[in-house]
Symmetry: C2
Subunit: 203 residues, 2 copies
DNA sequence: GAGCTTAATTTTGTATACATCTTGCTGTAA
DNA sequence: TTACAGCAAGATGTATACAAAATTAAGCTC
């Protein structure tokens, strides 16, 4: 519900209401809420229950830096390990992504973009690394709306993806790591621009 | 209790027994256990309760890589931001660490070592980054026993720390990041050696 | 005596009841 | 009309009771 935006950031979670809508009693509901709190999706205040976590602008920008470090490591680990078949799969995703881009299909573009990055993490074969990435993505899940990026930023993203393919084909871990860190850094800048435009519009 | 080793990895958590020792009822105890599960300290099996998470050798080595990436980022962020006072504080910790080393005070050595790294994360000023590090440290907390490192490995660690001080003084983020990644990589190797020695002894 | 089946006990999962705390409303007084 | 106090309603925190699943033990058969 939080991911779908049915519960907006900052809003309080009423246990009884949630229990009714899920048809469970308060005990398992509370356990679930505590689990979400541990993941950082909701915050608990003593004697005042749970509310959906607020993600500040600063936190969003912070998370891009951390994801960048994680993606960089994933790239370093993946490059020397990738098989021809896996490389071919990523190339297929990349082609599909470009196609979706040409068709102005933003959701499709992001789907394949996501698959490429997922594949790199899978190949890196480090469960903890994947887990850390998942936790961060869960926390800033409300950020899906950041999807709207400007025209010139597309070009940057795509050219970086092509550099990634070259580094992967060369099994060049350090270079791929560096590209991914740069890739995420430029994504961070895009989001920063987007956020500042947002706050201007609001003001 | 898990951190203190009172509950060994793999052992099951008996709710009733824990409730009695903590003098609370099962409801809050279960919520607490769920919170630990979300942090990865215990694992839950449906209808079979919770047991202390087993940390495999592979997981330990994985975590060093991830911590390396995080420390590297912390260094990159901290170097351009550090003040003279903070730099002086780290130098003091470094001196104290060397002193503890000379006195063969292992616990003291690790205390100041930890403080140096903590300081870098504090200066980096990225809450998520600190949080991710904390989560990983919690998961492999049982690893404190890895403290016993060999003589020649001390020298490597200390010389790397001195390189770190130079990079910090130069406000050179990329270099500090690289040193920290290398630092954690050599720590990983140390632990890998230690673990293989352990399994030899057991066999 | 060993292995399988079944019953009993323990243990986990869920629901409900009670206690405590917060909060919002109402009434009174200035 | 506004501010404060007291009360009531609701929500959270905790304890206990009940149901379902798993483990253990006993009994039976081979």
């Amino acid at each position: 519900m939080i991911e779908r935006g049915e519960l907006t950031p900052g809003s309080k979670l009423n246990e009884k209401a949630l229990c009714e809508s899920f048809a469970v009693s308060r005990t398992p509901m509370r356990e679930g809420i505590r689990a979400l709190a541990a993941e950082g999706l909701v915050v608990l205040t003593p004697n005042r229950g749970a509310s959906v976590a607020q993600v500040s602008e600063a936190q969003i920008l912070e998370s891009f830096l951390v994801i960048g470090a994680l993606e960089g490591l994933a790239g370093e680990l993946a490059a020397p390990r990738i098989t021809e078949a896996q490389l071919e799969e990523i190339r297929t995703h990349h082609a599909a992504m470009l196609e979706r881009r040409a068709a102005d299909d933003l959701d499709g573009y992001y789907l394949y973009n996501r698959r490429i990055h997922d594949a790199i993490f899978d190949i890196a074969d480090n469960a903890l690394l994947k887990d850390m990435r998942r936790i961060i993505f869960t926390r800033i899940i409300n950020l899906r709306f950041i999807a709207r990026i400007a025209q010139d930023e597309w070009e940057t993203a795509i050219s970086q993806h092509e550099e990634m393919l070259v580094a992967l084909a060369n099994r060049d871990g350090p270079t791929l790591g560096a590209i991914l860190r740069r890739h995420l850094q430029s994504k961070q800048l895009q989001v920063a621009h987007w956020l500042s435009r947002q706050s201007e519009t609001e003001a």
